[in-house]
C-alpha cells in the first residue's frame, strides 16, 4: 500500500483538525464533528463527554452483551495562552510536552469553537538553545483584531510529511494517526455478538485523563489501546507491534495472545515488545483498575524523542487489520461457546 492520494488526504484531514490536549469538551469538539461525519452510518451511537472524549458504539443488540473497546489518543501537544497582559506579550504554557526547539518560528493558530484561526508565530525569548522551553515561549502576533485571552488554546502548524512509498513523519505533537485506524476498523468490521466501543481519548498527554473517564463510562470487558512505540527493540517497517506493557500497565495474556493469533490468522508479520516506553503515561492502567483485560497494539516509530515520529504506513495498516481480526476471531470464539 503506498501513499495514494486518498490515504494522504485522509491523514492530512485528520491532522488539520486541531485537538490540543484540553481544548475539547462536550459542546466544542471538532473531533466529535469529524467522527460523526465518518461513522454515523456505521455506528449506533456517537457522543462526547465532559472531558472531551468521543465515543462511538456499535451495539450487538443483545442484552448484557460483552463489551470490547478500542482506544486511540485523539489529542496533540500544543499551548495555552497563560498571560496576555502583564508583559505586553502573549506568554504561552506548553501542554503535553511539545518539542519547543522544533516549533520556534512556526505559524500559530488559535482554536476557537473548533476552528483554527491563524494568529502569528511562535517565538522564544531565550537565546540559549538549551533553555528554550516553557518559560520562554510566546506568541508574536501583528493581528490588531486578535482576541486572545488567558485560557485560549494555541497550536502550531506542523503537518505530517510524506516520503517514499510508505514513509510518514508525524509531527511530534501527536499520535492521532490511530484515530484513522479506529475509523477504518469501524467501517469494515460490521457488527458482532458483543458491543464495540471506539474511544477517541481526550487529554491523554495530560495524564491519561480521558482514558480514566472512558474506562469508567464504558466498563469494558476487553480493551485494546493503540500506541506509537519508539524504535529500539522494534523496527519501523517490520510490521505492527504487539506489546506486553506500557510502563505501569501490564496487558492480559489472554488479549495479547488473541492479538498474536489474529495477526497470524490473517498472515501478517508482527513484532513483539515487552514494554513500550518506561515512565510514560499508561493508557491501559485506568482500564485495568475498572476490571478490564487489556492489550496493546501499535507501530514502531523512530525519532520520537527528537520531536517527530517516523513510521511506516504498512505497519499502520497491519495494526488496524490485526485489531479487526481480533474482533472477528473473538466473535467466532463466542459463537463456539454458545
Amino acid at each position: 500500500m503506498s501513499i495514494n492520494t486518498e490515504n494522504r488526504k485522509k491523514i492530512e484531514k485528520l491532522y488539520s483538525i486541531k485537538t490540543v490536549s484540553g481544548s475539547l469538551d462536550k459542546k466544542n469538539n471538532s473531533m466529535y464533528e469529524y467522527v460523526k461525519k465518518e461513522l454515523s452510518d456505521f455506528c449506533d451511537d456517537i457522543f462526547a463527554d465532559d472531558i472531551g472524549n468521543v465515543i462511538a458504539v456499535k451495539r450487538s443488540g443483545a442484552e448484557n452483551a460483552e463489551k470490547i473497546a478500542l482506544i486511540a489518543a485523539a489529542d496533540e501537544a500544543g499551548f495555552v495562552a497563560a498571560d496576555t497582559k502583564s508583559e505586553g506579550k502573549i506568554r504561552l504554557h506548553g501542554i503535553g510536552n511539545p518539542f519547543y526547539a522544533r516549533l520556534c518560528g512556526r505559524e500559530a493558530f488559535q482554536i476557537e469553537k473548533g476552528k483554527s484561526i491563524y494568529r502569528g508565530v511562535l517565538l522564544s525569548d531565550s537565546s540559549d538553545t538549551d533553555k528554550i522551553g516553557e518559560d520562554s515561549f510566546y506568541l508574536e502576533t501583528e493581528d490588531k483584531n486578535r482576541d486572545i485571552s488567558e485560557g485560549d488554546f494555541i497550536c502550531a502548524d506542523d503537518p505530517p510529511v510524506f516520503f517514499g512509498d510508505n514513509g510518514i513523519c508525524l509531527n511530534g505533537l501527536s499520535s492521532k494517526i490511530f484515530c484513522l485506524s479506529l475509523i477504518d476498523i469501524a467501517k469494515c468490521a460490521g457488527s458482532f455478538s458483543f458491543d464495540v466501543y471506539y474511544i477517541f481519548a481526550a487529554q491523554h498527554l495530560l495524564g491519561a485523563r480521558g482514558e480514566k473517564c472512558a474506562a469508567y463510562t464504558v466498563g469494558a470487558d476487553i480493551a485494546i489501546a493503540f500506541k506509537l512505540i519508539p524504535e529500539g527493540r522494534t523496527k519501523t517497517g517490520a510490521g505492527p507491534v504487539i506489546a506486553f506493557s506500557d510502563g505501569r500497565g501490564r496487558c492480559s495474556d489472554y488479549v495479547t495472545g488473541g492479538l498474536e493469533e489474529a495477526a497470524e490468522g490473517i498472515g501478517i508479520s508482527y513484532q513483539l515488545c515487552a514494554e513500550t516506553e518506561k515512565d510514560e503515561i499508561s493508557m491501559i492502567a485506568p482500564f485495568i483498575s475498572e476490571g478490564t483485560k487489556t492489550g496493546i497494539i501499535g507501530i514502531s516509530a523512530s525519532n520520537k524523542k527528537v520531536g517527530t515520529s517516523k513510521c511506516d504506513l504498512r505497519d499502520l495498516r497491519g495494526a488496524a487489520a490485526a485489531a479487526c481480526a481480533f474482533l472477528i476471531f473473538s466473535d467466532e470464539k463466542s459463537e463456539e461457546n454458545r
Binding site: S245, R248, G249, A274, E275, A285, G291
Partner: protein, 379 residues
C-alpha cells in the same frame, strides 16, 4: 493466651513452600490463578465461594449465613516482582526488563527461571567488570539491567522454540531454614502473608467456640507491585473494613528503627495518613488484649501497600495495614521469622471476633442526618 506455635511451625513451612512454588510475576497472574485457587481450596475449606477476577486476582469468600452481616476484607497480593523477556539473543542469552522494583546488586551470577512453554533455568550475567570498556568508574557503577542477560545454555534456535518475548522470569526457589525460626526463600512478598491469612482461616474453621457473625473475604490481589489495580477493583466489594497484609522492612544493620520492625518480635501495625486510625486502633487493642506480640510503625504519608488503593477506591473502605517483618525484600533470599507469621494469624483470628462490633459503631458514628432518598446509594 498461650501461643502454641510449635503446633503450627511445620504447617507454616509447608504452606509457604506450596504457595511460593507458584510463580506469578505481575502481569501473568491470570496464567497461575486457577492453580493457586486449587491450592488454597485444597488447604482449607473455610471459604465457600471463590472466583478469579479479570486481572488474575483471586477472591475467596466465607459467608457466615447471618443476613446483612458485616464484611471484613483481608488482602494479600498474589503477584511478585520479577522480569519480562524483551529480547532473545545469539548464544542463547535473554535480555529482560524489570517488573516491579528489583535490586540489581544481587543479580550477578544469580539463578533465574524463565516461564516459557516450559520452565527453564538460567544464570544472570553481564560483562565481567575487568573487561568493560572506557570509564574507570565503570567498576564502581552497577550496569543497567539492559546490560545484564540470562544465560540459558541453549542455542538461540533451541531457545526460540521454548521462550518468546513477553514471557516472565523470576528467581529460582531455594528454600532454606536458618537458625532461630528464620526461614528464607523467594516471594515471601507477599506469599508469607497469604500463609498467615490461610492459617487464620484454618484455625478459625477448626475453632468450635467461634461464633460466626462476620463474612470474611480473602483477596489474593493482582498487580500490587506495578499499579495497584488489583486493589482498586476491591472498592466495589464495599467491605466494612479491610486489613491489608504485606511484608515490611525487617530491622537490619543500616535500617533506621522508625522504618523497620525486628524479626521475631511480633506482627507489625502501621499508622499512616491513608489508613483508618479507628480500624488500626481496634487492631492494636485487639492484639494487646489477646497478648499477641505487636510492633508499631508510623509511615508518614502512605504505606507502600494496597491500602493506598483500596482505601479510596469507589466509595472508600477503612483500611489497616498488618505486616510481617521481612529482610532482603525483592530478592531470592527474603527472610522472615515463623513466630511473626503465627502472631499475625492469631491476631487475625481474634480480630474476626471483634470486627462486627467495630463496624457497627463505625457505621453509627458516620450518619448524622439521614440522606435517605437523596443520593440513591445510601451506604
Amino acid at each position: 493466651m498461650k501461643l502454641d506455635i510449635e503446633v503450627y511451625t511445620e504447617e507454616i513451612k509447608k504452606l509457604y513452600r506450596m504457595l511460593a512454588e507458584i510463580p506469578a510475576v505481575s502481569g501473568k497472574e491470570e496464567c497461575y490463578a486457577e492453580k493457586m485457587r486449587q491450592t488454597v481450596l485444597m488447604y482449607t475449606d473455610f471459604f465457600d465461594k471463590s472466583e478469579i477476577l479479570a486481572g488474575g486476582g483471586l477472591l475467596f469468600t466465607h459467608s457466615c449465613g447471618v443476613p446483612n452481616a458485616r464484611k471484613l476484607l483481608i488482602d494479600a497480593h498474589f503477584d511478585t516482582v520479577g522480569f519480562i523477556v524483551s529480547e532473545i539473543l545469539d548464544g542463547g542469552f535473554v535480555r529482560v526488563e524489570a517488573v516491579g522494583g528489583i535490586d540489581r546488586r544481587l543479580l550477578f551470577a544469580s539463578e533465574a527461571e524463565i516461564y516459557g512453554r516450559k520452565t527453564i533455568k538460567g544464570v544472570f550475567v553481564s560483562t565481567p567488570p575487568h573487561l568493560s570498556k572506557k570509564d574507570k568508574d565503570a567498576e564502581k557503577k552497577l550496569p543497567p539491567l539492559s546490560e545484564m542477560f540470562i544465560d540459558t545454555g541453549y542455542t538461540k534456535e533451541e531457545l526460540c522454540d521454548i521462550v518468546s518475548v513477553g514471557d516472565a522470569c523470576g528467581f529460582t526457589f531455594s528454600y532454606k531454614e536458618l537458625r532461630n525460626g528464620i526461614i528464607c526463600g523467594r516471594s515471601m512478598d507477599d506469599r508469607i502473608c497469604a500463609v498467615a491469612v490461610l492459617l487464620a482461616a484454618k484455625i478459625t474453621s477448626e475453632d468450635k467456640n467461634y461464633v460466626d457473625k462476620c463474612d470474611i473475604i480473602f483477596s489474593f490481589s493482582s498487580a500490587e507491585e506495578v499499579n495497584g489495580s488489583g486493589g482498586a477493583v476491591l472498592g466495589r466489594l464495599l467491605a466494612d473494613g479491610a486489613v491489608v497484609m504485606d511484608v515490611n522492612f525487617g530491622r537490619d544493620y543500616e535500617i533506621a528503627p522508625q522504618e523497620s520492625y525486628i524479626l521475631g518480635e511480633g506482627c507489625g501495625v502501621s499508622y499512616s495518613c491513608t489508613t483508618s486510625r479507628a480500624l488500626t486502633d481496634a487492631l492494636v487493642s485487639c492484639a494487646e488484649k489477646s497478648e499477641i506480640p505487636l510492633q508499631k510503625m508510623v509511615e508518614p504519608k502512605s504505606t507502600g501497600t494496597n491500602a493506598n488503593y483500596i482505601s479510596n477506591a469507589y466509595l472508600g473502605t477503612p483500611c489497616a495495614v498488618l505486616s510481617i517483618p521481612e529482610k532482603y525484600m525483592h530478592t531470592a533470599v527474603e527472610a522472615v521469622d515463623i513466630k511473626d507469621v503465627y502472631s499475625c494469624a492469631k491476631l487475625l483470628c481474634e480480630f474476626f471476633k471483634v470486627f462486627p462490633e467495630f463496624a457497627d459503631n463505625f457505621e453509627k458514628s458516620r450518619k448524622i442526618i439521614p440522606m435517605e432518598g437523596v443520593l440513591g446509594n445510601e451506604l
